[in-house]
């Protein structure tokens, strides 16, 4: 049998074939999958983003300064604010409070109040529930 020598043989092709019309449709398929060119709007958006973050940062710093200043001044308001809040929202009556106070505390309040007689008379005239308070 003749020895096989590649150079002596007629050219042997690969034996591969392609489907009918494969190359006709190939360009269309490739073009459909190409990345689309992004318009330059992206760079403007990025600039806008930078502005947005800059403004947000300035606002955040300003607000934190305002809140810090407010927190410094609330100390003087706290007691008055709390007193008013309690007066508006409490379910505890004056009688309940009186029960909690010691005799010395009640006497001290009477001295501090220093109600003048004419004011006391006017109050008594205007208060229609006075009888209720006297009887009870």
């Amino acid at each position: 049998m003749k020895e096989f020598r590649l150079d002596n043989e007629p050219k042997i092709t690969s034996g591969f074939k392609t489907p009918e019309g494969y190359f006709d449709d190939l360009s269309k398929k490739i073009n459909a999958n190409l990345p689309k060119n992004e318009p330059k709007v992206i760079s403007i958006f990025q600039k806008r983003k930078t502005w947005f973050y800059g403004i947000a940062a300035v606002l955040a710093i300003s607000l934190s300064v305002v809140f810090y200043q407010q927190s410094q001044s609330t100390e003087t308001l706290d007691a008055e604010f709390l007193e008013n809040y309690i007066a508006r929202n409490t379910t505890v009556s004056e009688y309940d409070l009186l029960e909690l106070l010691e005799k010395e505390d009640i006497e001290k309040i009477q001295i501090d109040l220093d109600i003048q007689d004419d004011i006391l008379e006017e109050t008594m005239i205007n208060n229609t529930n006075l009888e209720h308070y006297i009887i009870n």
Binding site: T13, S14, G15, P19, S27
Partner: protein
């Protein structure tokens, strides 16, 4: 060379890019398909790899420095895509790319897109027995008739090493053909 410089400029210019790329597609789709098909053997796989290759070419045109010929650069992309594809397929099947190719070749007669006769089938089997690099060099020289100088640019291997590789490949193929 001047024509190629002009063509590359057209490919890089947004105004002329689309038309230039269509020209590139028309001119290179068949040679690149054949190159890829010779490596991966199966038509559907070759189709996938070829499309990926052209997309990569398109995406990387702006990076092409002109240090090699345009066609060498494209063949290099095609070769890398084909080999990566085979390696990934082999990994999925828990095997090596050489074993995978052997298996594909054994089933070639059942492939509807292989119409080779007995000697063509035997030659494919002989090639599949070679180490990976020798297979590539042999296919590029024997089937595609690529010049050694161009092959050197594509594969990044010296002309001398490529000639030696081809010579060894031919010897082993002849041994196989005479022994089977």
């Amino acid at each position: 060379m001047q024509d190629e410089k002009v063509f590359i400029a057209e490919l890089l210019n947004p105004k002329t890019q689309n038309e230039a790329f269509q020209k590139l597609l028309r001119e290179y789709q068949k040679p690149l398909y054949n190159h890829i098909r010779n490596i991966v053997l199966n038509h559907d796989d070759a189709d996938d790899v070829l499309q990926n290759t052209f997309i990569k070419v398109f995406q990387n045109l702006k990076n092409f420095k002109g240090e090699s010929k345009l066609f060498s650069w494209m063949y290099r992309i095609a070769t890398n895509e084909a080999i990566s594809f085979l390696n990934q397929k082999a990994k999925k099947n828990n095997t090596t790319s050489e074993e995978l190719l052997s298996k594909i070749v054994d089933n070639l007669k059942a492939d509807s897109y292989f119409d080779g006769d007995e000697i063509q089938f035997k030659l494919q089997k002989a090639i599949a027995n070679l180490p990976e690099k020798q297979q590539l060099v042999f296919k590029m020289k024997y089937f595609e008739e690529i010049k050694y100088e161009d092959m050197s640019e594509i594969l990044g291997t010296s002309v001398g090493a490529l000639k030696a590789s081809y010579h060894h490949a031919v010897k082993k193929i002849e041994e196989f053909m005479n022994g089977n």
